[in-house]
């Protein structure tokens, strides 16, 4: 276990190094000059001298590798630089935007968990029934839904047809209900499908027959043995979704005008605000790798035998 954690942490550092390097490389291939974009925001028609002065001021005249090492050096002191766009420290911008997205994703995952477990179990215990068929078709539609369109439909439903609660009311939990549902429906559909399939394949295993032969109650077999053994793929996907939803929330944030990190990153990319882009990329990648590592550790605790194969592969 300890050696596994140590190896995961090294892997994590390697991934973060690669991700930030990639972010710097991508910044250099774009034809739009960040110094020029910066100058255009300050003055209407910047002279070449002004642009050159800004380039030196921002440190963009240095070769790419020097820029990168400077950035990493500052990062190790907890400094991600100043945003070109908001003129505030990148870190404080992120600290302001990230909680919005995390609340949104968190609430979406609460819906997902609440729906997936009961529906997954009900459909797997009675496959082929009308309910199972209905869930099957509904979840296929669910994974095919464009999230922004679903958001529009929900807005339409709850503003014009069923005005039950305040939809646009920034800063409260109520304002997150529709956006989180928008994120949750496609995710829950994918989860229900996976959970049902895993439960079904586990229900056909020999250990279930053996447990039944020992006279163990069906409910106990399902809850204690089958569900526990079906959780690892679900947990892996669940943690993967945390990372994916943090980036994927940009569309939903733009639709519901939420000031989250997804839109912050899109705006920064379009405005060539390099410090913000690099900072956000680092934070999002960190969330992605941390949640994945968490999934691996949880699964290793739940079912130690499963990790044997992994160990050999990464050995």
């Amino acid at each position: 276990m300890v050696s596994m954690i140590r190896r995961r942490l090294t892997g994590l550092a390697v991934v973060l190094f690669g991700v930030t390097l990639l972010s710097f490389l991508l910044a250099s291939i774009s034809p739009v000059d960040p110094a020029e974009a910066y100058a255009l925001r300050v003055t209407q028609q910047p002279t070449p001298e002004q642009i050159a002065a800004i380039r030196v001021e921002l440190g963009l005249h240095l070769p790419l590798h020097q820029q990168y090492f400077r950035w990493v050096g500052n990062l190790l002191q907890g400094d991600l630089g100043i945003s070109y766009l908001t003129k505030k420290p990148v870190l404080s911008d992120i600290a302001e935007k990230l909680p919005v997205t995390l609340q949104l994703v968190g609430l979406a995952l609460v819906w997902v968990a609440l729906v997936t477990v009961p529906i997954g179990i009900l459909t797997a215990l009675k496959p082929g029934t009308l309910f199972d068929q209905a869930v099957r078709w509904a979840t296929i539609l669910g994974i095919s839904l464009p999230s922004f369109w679903l958001g529009f439909l929900l807005l339409l439903l709850f503003t014009l047809i069923l005005p039950v609660f305040q939809v646009v009311n920034a800063g409260t939990l109520g304002s997150l209900i529709l956006p989180s549902l928008t994120l949750a429906v496609p995710a829950a559909s994918a989860f229900i499908r996976l959970f049902r399939a895993t439960l079904l394949s586990n229900l056909n295993k020999d250990y279930v027959v053996y447990a039944r032969a020992r006279g163990i109650r069906q409910s106990r077999i399902v809850w204690v043995h089958v569900v526990k053994n079906s959780l690892p793929p679900l947990i892996t996907l669940f943690c993967q979704y945390v990372g994916l939803l943090v980036t994927g929330s940009a569309v939903v944030e733009s639709l519901f005008s939420l000031p989250g990190i997804g839109m912050h990153l899109v705006n920064a990319s379009m405005a060539r605000d390099l410090p913000t882009v690099n900072g956000c990329v680092l934070v999002i990648a960190l969330i992605f790798v941390l949640t994945r590592t968490a999934a691996e550790l949880i699964n290793a605790r739940l079912n130690p035998k499963l990790t044997d194969k992994e160990e050999r592969l990464y050995g």
Partner: protein, 274 residues
């Protein structure tokens, strides 16, 4: 196999939807009642009529014609992306699993880096430097998605590699190429086909999401996501302008998902439900 598909209601429903979208794409120039890009400010927001079967949009363009042309963009991106991604994924995944050792570990690390990198940033950077249009969208999609595809192939291939028949063919003196192309690849094909079919649905959703954010296409392109995005200001007064393109995206994606999932049931009966 063909018979199994014909006997499967879900596969047929999926195929029917795929056929409808393909026909829309191929016959759009013939079937469209009007020029999809002709702006006529005098006839904005017209109700459905004989000349405009689904009415007109905020710039007086024929909605039906634009929806039909939208199928060209959706499939025109999804199909080439699929071939490129399928090729890259299959080649890298099997190669890494077969060669093993240091190369395999390097491959996994690179995959992890690409997967952890926010896909939106990668796409924005590539579309920004390659310009707008079909080619750069395909390039952007491929460069973000290849790691996911290659890793899936790798995980199947590394399971396959340990099986006895591969050991047997090694002992029989098969060359590396023959083992990869003659033995491993054919055995991966069914799972890969399923993954690709559901993958197309993913591309359709991804591309429409990108163009919803205003990326990838020039303003005014009759692409479904872009249509929806342009109409969103008039959402409360003319909701159909948003509902129609979304419905098209949903049906196109559902077609490939239905077919892919049915294919999985047919190919691996032990996991099938019915």
């Amino acid at each position: 196999m063909g018979k199994a598909i014909l006997n499967n209601k879900q596969a047929l429903a999926g195929l029917a939807l795929i056929a409808i979208v393909s026909i829309m794409a191929v016959l759009a120039p013939v079937m469209a009642p009007n020029d999809p890009n002709k702006i006529d400010v005098m006839s904005r927001f017209l109700a459905p009529s004989a000349q405009y079967p689904l009415g007109t949009d905020q710039l007086g363009r024929c909605v039906l014609s634009r929806l039909l042309y939208g199928a060209i963009y959706s499939l025109g991106i999804a199909v080439p992306t699929l071939f490129v991604l399928g090729g890259i994924g299959a080649a890298l995944g099997t190669a890494a699993a077969y060669i093993g050792g240091r190369w395999e570990r390097g491959f996994l690390v690179v995959c992890d880096i690409v997967m952890a990198f926010p896909s939106l940033v990668l796409m924005l950077a590539l579309i920004g430097s390659l310009g707008q249009g079909l080619v750069s969208i395909v390039a952007a999609t491929v460069s973000t998605m290849w790691a996911w595809f290659a890793k899936v192939v790798w995980s199947y291939a590394s399971l396959e590699k340990g099986k006895d028949y591969i050991v047997a063919s090694c002992i029989a003196g098969c060359s590396g190429w023959r083992i990869v192309f003659g033995h491993i690849m054919p055995n991966l094909l069914p799972q890969f086909a399923v993954y690709l079919s559901t993958g197309i649905a993913g591309f359709i959703l991804m591309v429409s999401g990108l163009s919803y954010l205003g990326l990838g296409f020039e303003a005014g392109t009759p692409e479904w996501g872009a249509m929806l995005s342009e109409a969103k200001a008039h959402f409360f007064s003319h909701p159909t302008l948003v509902v129609y393109p979304g419905l098209c995206i949903l049906l196109a994606a559902a077609g490939f998902n239905l077919f892919g999932e049915a294919l999985r049931d047919i190919l691996s009966p032990e996991e099938a439900s019915e």
